[in-house]
């Protein structure tokens, strides 16, 4: 079916003032246009422009959430400025990240990295999580710098580096093994295990084994359940590294 911009005028008008609990069936034409736009670059660009245009003032929070969901499906670099503007806003930051995390454009990652340095407290944790979700190697230095900071942020940073698990991420985690915050230290151990698992899957047995051995040594004297769990995971990992008859 050919894209007909005029047929969406009314749904877009209703969308502007939409609130949760309202009749969402009025946007069905927009849903259908989003699906159809995947095969029509011109329609996709037009639709993206109209959707991004609703992210400014005068649009309800529920409508902006709807728009973010749709942009996560068809958004490109063109939507990034509008979405990035929402990142510091407590009410909209989460859904803006939802879209930016999924948009396949370097500009989206760049916007998240930029926001990481500027947004406050809890919102920063969200940026870390979204950059990890994108597996963004370029954000490793910025995230690594947070490992020694406030506990919750440090935990999120460790988790993110484990998910990114590039050699630089693994090195940053190893360098942070002297962190004293208990929650952060546990998260760093978990993340290092994730790095080792990843290396083992890539067949880099020696590198993986070195991480497992380091973790095992660090947890050797510990009596807590976490220390024991680390020792067990490391022991299992070392054995898997030594076992060259099986692929991990």
């Amino acid at each position: 079916m050919a894209y007909d911009p005029a047929s969406l005028d009314k749904p877009f008008e209703i969308l502007k003032a939409f609130d949760w609990g309202g009749d969402a069936s009025a946007f069905q034409p927009i849903d259908a246009a989003v699906v159809a736009a995947h095969a029509d670059p011109a329609a996709r660009a037009d639709l993206e422009k109209r959707l991004a245009g609703l992210l400014g003032g005068g649009t309800s929070r529920a409508a902006k959430e709807y728009v973010c969901r749709k942009l996560s499906l068809i958004g490109t670099a063109a939507s990034v400025p509008s979405l990035a503007a929402l990142l510091p806003e407590k009410e909209h930051s989460h859904m803006a990240r939802f879209a930016l995390e999924r948009i396949n454009a370097a500009e989206a990652a760049e916007a998240l990295r930029k926001a990481l340095g500027s947004v406050p407290g809890d919102l920063k944790i969200g940026m870390i999580s979204s950059l990890a979700g994108r597996g963004d190697a370029a954000s490793v230095p910025a995230i690594a710098a947070l490992l020694s900071g406030e506990s919750k942020t440090a935990v999120a940073a460790a988790d993110a580096l484990g998910r990114i698990h590039t050699p630089e991420a693994c090195q940053a985690l190893a360098a942070a093994s002297s962190v004293t915050d208990k929650a952060a230290a546990a998260a760093i151990s978990d993340a290092r295990l994730a790095c080792a698992e990843s290396l083992l899957k890539q067949g880099k047995r020696a590198e993986a084994k070195a991480i497992y051995a380091s973790l095992s040594e660090a947890a050797a004297a510990g009596t807590t359940p976490t220390a024991k769990a680390t020792r067990l995971a490391a022991a299992r990992g070392i054995l898997a590294c030594l076992d060259t008859t099986t692929t991990s």
């Binding site: 022991a235 299992r236 070392i238 054995l239 030594l242 076992d243 060259t244 008859t245």
Partner: protein, 473 residues
């Protein structure tokens, strides 16, 4: 440790060493990773020796799925004789899962040396997983032991691999220890040993009733049209009563459920037609249970016969019918029969047949038949059976049929049961919520049965109810 056992262990270790050398010498040029590194094997062995269960689990996991190769298998198996019984159990199970036959000598040695039944059972299980035809004899010996060894031996013989395994078990079923012959037959059935089918037919007419019963039970599992003639002989050979009934059910299963059931039913009919009168009399109930047009023509002829005995045989077959195709005949006969006992039987058959799930009627026709049957009932006892059977027809019309009987003190309880059973099915209940709520309220005000009260209350609130599983005998 007895001298003999020590000597055996020494011999086994020597054999392992020889096998290891042989395997090294004979192994073709393989990838460098074909042999497990010794440091990994040793680390696994160290883990297996730990008191901490979690570390042992890591080692056992590696025994199961990692460190490939016979040399590692033999090192792990070599630990068995040095471990405490509880650890022997763990490692035996892991080596069985590993599936490397190189562990077999150690398992056989463990079976010979171990005193604890649980360890022996674990060793037997492992022999079943790793062994072949050579191990049939040792497992057969264990079959004579008490549980858990006996149960393990049965499982092991069922899963044992090898082209000659079924043949050896078949031989044991023919000429083995008399008390174990039925067990061997059960094992052949579980193995789906098609090569044993001729021997199972011979066993179906054996002089030993337990052997005959086991053979018919086995044939029911995987017999087909080629076995029907032999199974007919099994039915005829079976002693009247429980054994005959079980044999008949086996034959009915082959003719109504197994692959090629249509051809099997044809063969049964051919066998029946070719039989003498006495044999026909015995086979009529089987024919009735199998059903079908060919059988119906024969049964119709008998029912119409002036000879009272023949008519009775025909009626007996008709009453066993597996579907509702004979419902009109039963109704007609009920309309003409003067014999009270015969009328009771006919009515009972109608009540049984009307809601059968696999019959030829749709739900509306089933309910109409049941309603018509209700009008023919003259006793509350029969009406109660009609109401109880009604819930097998899961429609809202059935609820409407049952609800008026909630007001009849003599019929209220079976009506309550049927209302609750119908309400159990969420798709009917949710689609007719108001009607069900009213009916369930009425049940709550009528029944004294605590389970029905609990169920009715749950269904009213849109909750589920878990049917209690029957206790295992």
């Amino acid at each position: 440790m007895p001298v003999l056992a020590r000597r055996h262990r020494g011999a086994i270790v020597l054999m392992w060493a020889v096998l290891a050398c042989l395997s090294c010498g004979l192994r073709p040029a393989a990838a460098a990773d074909a042999t497990a590194p010794q440091d990994a094997v040793q680390m696994t062995i160290d883990f297996l020796a730990k008191d901490d269960q979690a570390f042992r689990a890591i080692g056992l996991d590696r025994v199961r799925y990692g460190l490939k190769g016979e040399a590692a298998t033999m090192q792990f198996a070599g630990l068995l004789s040095k471990l405490a019984p509880a650890r022997q159990l763990e490692l035996t199970a892991a080596l069985a899962d590993r599936g490397d036959r190189a562990a077999l000598p150690a398992m056989l040695a463990l079976l010979q040396a171990a005193k604890e039944p649980a360890v022996r059972a674990a060793a037997i299980n492992a022999v079943g997983s790793l062994g072949s035809g050579t191990e049939v004899a040792v497992l057969t010996t264990s079959l004579a032991a008490a549980d858990p060894e006996k149960a393990a031996a049965r499982r092991a013989l069922t899963v044992l691999r090898g082209n000659d395994v079924s043949a050896q078990i078949t031989e044991a079923a023919k000429s083995g220890e008399p008390g174990l012959r039925p067990t061997f037959i059960d094992i052949l059935a579980d193995r789906r040993a098609v090569t044993a089918l001729p021997d199972l037919l011979t066993a179906a007419v054996d002089g030993d009733p337990s052997v005959r019963t086991a053979a018919m039970r086995a044939l029911a599992k995987f017999g087909g049209s080629e076995q029907v003639a032999g199974m007919v002989q099994g039915v005829l050979k079976a002693a009247a009563g429980g054994e005959r009934d079980e044999a008949e059910r086996a034959l009915v299963t082959v003719c109504t459920q197994n692959p090629g059931k249509e051809r099997s039913a044809e063969v049964l009919l051919e066998q029946f037609k070719a039989a003498d009168d006495s044999t026909k009399e015995t086979l009529l109930t089987v024919l009735g249970r199998v059903g079908g047009n060919g059988a119906l023509a024969i049964v119709d002829g008998l029912v119409a016969d002036a000879n009272v005995a023949k008519r009775k045989l025909g009626l007996t077959a008709l009453m066993k019918w597996p579907d509702a195709t004979v419902s009109q005949r039963l109704l007609d006969l009920l309309g003409t029969s003067q014999d009270p006992a015969e009328r009771d039987q006919l009515l009972g058959s109608l009540i049984r047949i009307a809601p059968l799930p696999d019959n030829k009627l749709n739900d509306k026709q089933k309910l109409e038949l049941l309603q018509k049957t209700m009008t023919l009932c003259t006793r509350d006892e029969d009406r109660r059976r009609v109401l109880e059977r009604a819930n097998a027809i899961r429609t809202i019309e059935t609820l409407r049929f049952v609800v008026p009987y909630l007001d009849d003190p003599n019929l209220a309880e079976p009506a309550c049961l049927s209302v609750v059973e119908l309400a159990h099915h969420r798709n009917i209940r949710d689609a007719n919520k108001d009607e069900f709520t009213k009916a369930l309220d009425k049940v709550l005000g009528t029944t004294k049965n605590e389970e029905l009260i609990e169920r009715a209350e749950r269904y009213k609130q849109g909750q589920t109810w878990e049917r209690k599983k029957p206790a295992k005998s």
